[in-house]
């Protein structure tokens, strides 16, 4: 078990290093000279910059160093959470990111919690009678939710609740407080809810069709006990589902923040992309990769702890997802 966890952790570190290399490659391969871009970002675009100034700038930022040296320096700094200064206002990137993160974390956590609290019971109830009325209705609703872009759902919510009913604010600023969070959380939760409910339904229905469930029924198990055992048997798959859920929630929250003008990491990313503020873009990309890799590491280890069979396979397979 410990060996499996260590091996998974090593592979996670390798993946993160790969992410850094990929992002670094994107930056160096991108058209446009970083020095010219950065020098121009502060002031008037029309003013020509002398070659000497550019050379001095390159030297100052180490852009005249060999590629491998730059990469290693960058990795070392990223590991210490030092991403340099924003090209937009000269503030340390880490400061800007850490100011934006609490709102995003609150949004994502609340949405995942809400989605789990509703999605799991819904999936279990649908699984008790596959093909029954509840199963068909929830299947249809989840299918519709799968086909709705998160930001479209948010826009329609805004139109109905803020535009027509006027019960929620149009912009989720810091002043609007919790009321401003209602719609973003609901929007983000609905997208994950569909995934959770369908996933739980598939797993529990499979566990209930298992001979083990038949044996339990023959012993005279009560339905509640039967469900409890079915959940227990599919618990390792649920852990794997967490790893699938996290990246989709992160992607969704970028758009949701944008829709509701929520000042979080997603808004910061969009803003940084427009301003071509590369250090901030890189820091946020790095953050999201760390979150996703950490989630998948935890999910794999938890799955292995719940069901040691999964530790023996080279990769965790999730029933229903790409069989």
């Amino acid at each position: 078990m410990l060996r499996f966890a260590l091996r998974r952790a090593a592979s996670a570190l390798l993946t993160l290093l790969g992410v850094l290399a990929l992002v670094f490659g994107l930056v160096t391969a991108a058209p446009g000279d970083a020095a010219a871009l950065a020098a121009r970002a502060g002031g008037n675009r029309a003013v020509a910059i002398s070659p000497e100034a550019l050379a001095a700038f390159r030297h100052l930022y180490g852009l005249d160093r060999p590629l491998t040296e730059r990469f290693l320096t960058w990795v070392w700094r990223a590991a210490r959470l030092d991403f340099g200064r924003s090209l937009l206002d000269g503030q340390p990137v880490t400061l800007r990111v850490s100011r934006a993160l609490p709102a995003t974390l609150a949004l994502n956590t609340a949405a995942l919690l809400l989605a789990t609290l509703i999605g799991v019971p819904l999936g279990v109830m649908a699984a008790r009678r596959p093909g029954g009325r509840l199963d068909r209705i929830s299947g249809f609703v989840c299918d519709a939710l799968f086909s709705t872009p998160t930001f479209v759902l948010g826009l329609v919510f805004l139109l109905v609740f803020s535009g027509w009913l006027r019960v929620t604010p149009l912009f989720a600023d810091t002043e609007t407080g919790l009321r401003g969070f209602l719609l973003p959380v609901a929007t983000l939760a609905l997208a994950s809810l569909a995934l959770i409910a369908r996933f739980v339904r598939v797993c529990v229905a499979a566990a209930l069709a298992d001979p083990a469930a038949l044996a339990g029924r023959a012993r005279g198990e009560r339905p509640s006990e039967e469900i409890r055992r079915a959940l227990r048997r599919s618990s390792s798959a649920f852990a794997a589902m967490g790893a699938v859920l996290v990246p989709s929630v992160v992607s969704g929250s970028i758009l949701v923040e944008r829709v509701f003008s929520l000042p979080g990491a997603g808004s910061l990313l969009a803003e940084a992309v427009f301003a071509r503020d590369l250090p901030t873009v890189l820091a946020l990309t790095w953050c999201s990769a760390v979150v996703v890799v950490a989630a998948s590491l935890v999910a794999d280890v938890v799955a292995a702890a719940l069901d040691p069979r999964t530790a023996r396979e080279d990769e965790v397979t999730v029933p229903g997802v790409a069989a």
Binding site: S147, V156, P247
Partner: protein, 291 residues
């Protein structure tokens, strides 16, 4: 016809409506009349007689009425005409990105499964790296460095969407390459290429091909998100995502600017997913990772 085949046909017809609209949009929604008289007077006008980019500042934000069936946006452009033309972008981006993603996934999956060993591990590591980044983050980060355009968006979406296809093809190739019939073909002296293309791939590819509708659906969603953020095809190309971003700023008014592109997006993705379900002959299972 079996019920499954009938369902597949219905789903295919429903989905095919969108490429059809995309093809016909320039004909249906245009200012130039279908038939005009010698003096240039209109005899038969197009059903939606407005160009998607035609600005009419006298009729800004007109609500749906007889002249503009679905109203106009903040520049007085016809919403229906823009929604019809927007189909072109979404359908083209979805088709191109999903085809590229499947091609890339199939190529890398075959390579990994057939070669095995170090090649296999390298491809798997690469796959893990791409999956470590949420699709939208990778696409946005890429868009930050490249000039936004239709092609860049499609390419970036393909670069994030190939992993599931690669996994499927890799698993299929691995399983098949040790089958008795492949050994038999090898014993008769078939070349590696023949073994791969004649004996293995015809069985390894279909599972990945069946996921095409889902990949297409999520590609359309990602493209719309990218356009919504202003990182898709640049203006004045009519785009559902950007139309929604513009409508966001008009809230609480102008509901007619939100609903047409929102519903169009929903139905395009929905019909694509239904087609995927019909392919697989089942419904409701969690089939694809959501973007």
């Amino acid at each position: 016809m079996t019920p499954a085949r009938a369902a597949l046909r219905r789903a295919a017809i429903a989905f095919a409506l969108f490429p059809l609209i995309a093809l016909l949009a320039p004909l249906v929604a245009r200012e130039k009349p279908w038939v005009s008289g010698r003096g240039g007077e209109t005899i038969v006008s197009a059903p939606v007689p407005f160009d998607p980019d035609a600005v009419d500042l006298d009729r800004r934000l007109a609500s749906p009425g007889r002249r503009h069936l679905l109203g106009t946006d903040e520049l007085g452009r016809d919403v229906l005409s823009r929604a019809l033309h927007g189909t072109r972008l979404s359908v083209a981006a979805g088709l191109l990105a999903s085809a590229l993603a499947l091609g890339l996934g199939a190529a890398l999956g075959t390579l990994a499964g057939w070669a095995g060993g170090r090649t296999d591990r390298t491809v798997l590591l690469f796959l893990q790296i791409v999956q470590a980044l949420p699709a939208l983050v990778l696409v946005i980060a890429g868009a930050a460095f490249l000039k936004p355009s239709f092609l860049v968006a499609a390419l970036l979406i393909a670069l994030t969407g190939w992993t599931d296809a690669a996994r499927l093809v890799r698993a299929g190739t691995q399983r098949l390459k040790n089958e008795a019939f492949v050994d038999a073909a090898r014993a008769t002296g078939a070349s590696n290429a023949r073994l791969l293309f004649v004996h293995v791939l015809p069985h390894a590819l279909p599972p990945a091909l069946a996921t095409l509708p889902y990949v297409l659906g999520s590609a359309v969603l990602t493209e719309a998100g990218l356009s919504f953020l202003g990182l898709g095809a640049p203006p004045p190309t009519a785009s559902w995502g950007r139309a929604l971003a513009e409508a966001r700023n008009l809230l609480p008014g102008a509901w007619w600017c939100i609903l047409p592109p929102a519903l169009a997006l929903f139905f395009l993705v929905w019909t694509a997913r239904r087609l995927g379900d019909a392919f697989l002959g089942r419904r409701g299972d969690v089939q694809s990772r959501l973007a």
